[in-house]
């Protein structure tokens, strides 16, 4: 199975589970974001383009499933996928701490970005609710959910890194 198909299946399953199951598993007003964590696993393994595409499609799937305004989640997840993909391609490449940092950064980005986006679109959203204790709880939950998801991501999206890395340096002279 190619990586594109694996990514599509991962995003679809994560999106459906997020809409149906994980959306209700609330603690302190927050819910674990399986789709976001899956997106991070994909972006770190496969880079910015795959991350951005997976984010766009995952967001679209979630907005369709929950009958929300189309494009809002897509925009946030596209940017997160791209950003974390670039992080994975550059400074975080093969670093053990990369998943933890990416979960923390992406959760905060989605909370703050989501708040700003909804505010700009005229929705009445309480900053205290979106960015208060719920954000801390969401961070904890995403880190817990992240451990198995990143392990699964490593297993499924095992890249051709060994061969790829060898081919990256060519002696010229």
């Amino acid at each position: 199975m190619t990586h594109a198909v694996k990514i599509a299946v991962l995003v679809f399953v994560a999106g459906v589970l997020q809409a149906t199951v994980f959306g209700s598993a609330g603690v302190f007003g927050a819910t674990p974001d399986l789709l976001l964590v899956t997106l991070l696993a994909i972006a770190l393994r496969r880079g910015a383009v795959a991350g951005a595409l997976a984010g766009f499609l995952g967001g679209l799937l979630l907005d369709v499933a929950t009958l929300e305004s189309l494009g809002v989640t897509s925009l946030l997840l596209t940017l997160v996928g791209y950003w974390i993909g670039r992080f994975g391609e550059t400074t975080a490449r093969d670093r053990a701490y990369a998943p933890v940092i990416s979960v923390v950064a992406a959760t905060v980005f989605v909370a703050v970005g989501g708040y700003m986006l909804h505010y700009m679109l005229g929705a009445d959203v309480l900053a205290a609710r979106a960015l208060g204790t719920a954000l801390l709880a969401a961070l904890g939950l995403n880190l817990v959910v992240g451990a198995p998801v990143f392990a699964l991501g490593r297993l499924l999206l095992r890249s051709d890194e060994r061969g790829g890395r060898a081919g990256e340096v060519q002696l010229l002279g």
Binding site: A19, S24, R46, A48, L70, G114, D160, V169, L172
Partner: protein
């Protein structure tokens, strides 16, 4: 700066070049391609947001979304069924902790309610007799004039910003826009979007929700809405200072009619119980907090109310 740069390797004394983009992985995709893809996706997302907000609910994009939601329906039902035993097990284990104190509380409540039922029966008979004498005409009341469409939850909000749920019943089941939605405990919200086989329900905890309500014991009227920074707690707003509201009072929907307008909610749906009452010199109204009867965090099925009576034609 181009990706195919060269560098001197001191040990080998030879120059090395990073290879061109690997065909297998997007990790090494060219910067131009990468930026083009993300720019296109961002523009597409912005276009979707714009069209989604500007077109009506009958527009082509919403039609496509409804079709997509219909296609996802079986997967959502399947995921919900797989997850339900685990959720039930969690609820069962959670309930065990407070089971003994809950049982004691319920026993004493049953005693009180038994006496209250006898008084209510007597009041009901008297009410029917007096209504007949006065030839009293009333609007639709809950639950007498409503039938319920029972529906399972198939999707929940993707973030804390949305206080909406999606239920597995739509126009094909008789669900209409603005229909009130309840559980056995009390009012949950109203239908704000409906497709053929699914409906979006905006919860009472949403910032845009507001319900005219009454204190059942004192008839003090106000508007129930979500309170700032109060989690799932609600507030009964616009209650004048000279009205009487006590802690423990039950709050129900008012079901008012005024001029050409009528409340979307019928009279008599339980909303919650008053948990605190306060007032300050600077505020125009009392500050009344309500604990809702419905547990918005663990909804798994709801009842969408469908009126049996035709809508009133108001002058």
């Amino acid at each position: 700066m181009p990706r195919n740069r060269t560098a001197k390797v001191a040990v080998l004394g030879s120059s090395v070049r990073r290879a061109a983009a690997s065909k297998a992985s997007s990790r090494s995709s060219s910067p131009l391609r990468r930026r083009l893809v993300v720019a296109l996706l961002v523009v597409a997302a912005l276009a979707l947001i714009t069209v989604s907000f500007r077109e009506g609910t009958s527009g082509p994009l919403h039609g496509a979304q409804s079709a997509g939601a219909k296609a996802l329906h079986p997967f959502e039902i399947a995921a919900e069924r797989v997850a339900r035993p685990f959720r039930d097990a969690w609820s069962w284990a959670d309930g065990l902790f407070g089971a003994r104190s809950e049982a004691d509380r319920l026993r004493s409540q049953v005693e009180q309610l038994r006496q209250q039922v006898i008084q209510n029966e007597s009041a009901l008979q008297e009410n029917v007799r007096l209504r007949a004498l006065l030839e009293y005409l009333d609007g639709p009341t809950f639950p007498r004039d409503y039938s319920g469409v029972s529906a399972a939850l198939i999707a929940r909000p993707p973030s804390a910003f949305e206080q909406q749920i999606v239920v597995a019943a739509g126009t094909a089941n008789g669900v209409r826009l603005n229909a009130p939605v309840v559980t056995a405990e009390g009012l949950v919200g109203q239908v704000t979007r409906v497709t053929e086989d699914a409906a979006q329900v905006t919860l009472l905890t949403d910032e845009t929700s507001a319900v005219s309500a009454l204190d059942l014991r004192t008839d003090a009227a106000g508007i129930v809405r979500h309170g700032a920074g109060t989690g799932d707690m609600l507030v009964l707003d616009r209650v004048a200072k000279d009205e009487v509201v006590n802690v423990g009072d039950e709050v129900i929907t008012a079901g008012w009619r005024s001029g050409g307008l009528a409340s979307l909610y019928p009279k008599g749906i339980p909303i919650g119980k008053v948990t605190s009452v306060g007032q300050t010199d600077t505020d125009l109204y009392k500050q009344v907090q309500i604990a809702p009867y419905a547990d918005f965090g663990s909804l798994d099925s709801v009842l969408v109310l469908v009126s049996r009576r035709p809508p009133l034609k108001l002058p």
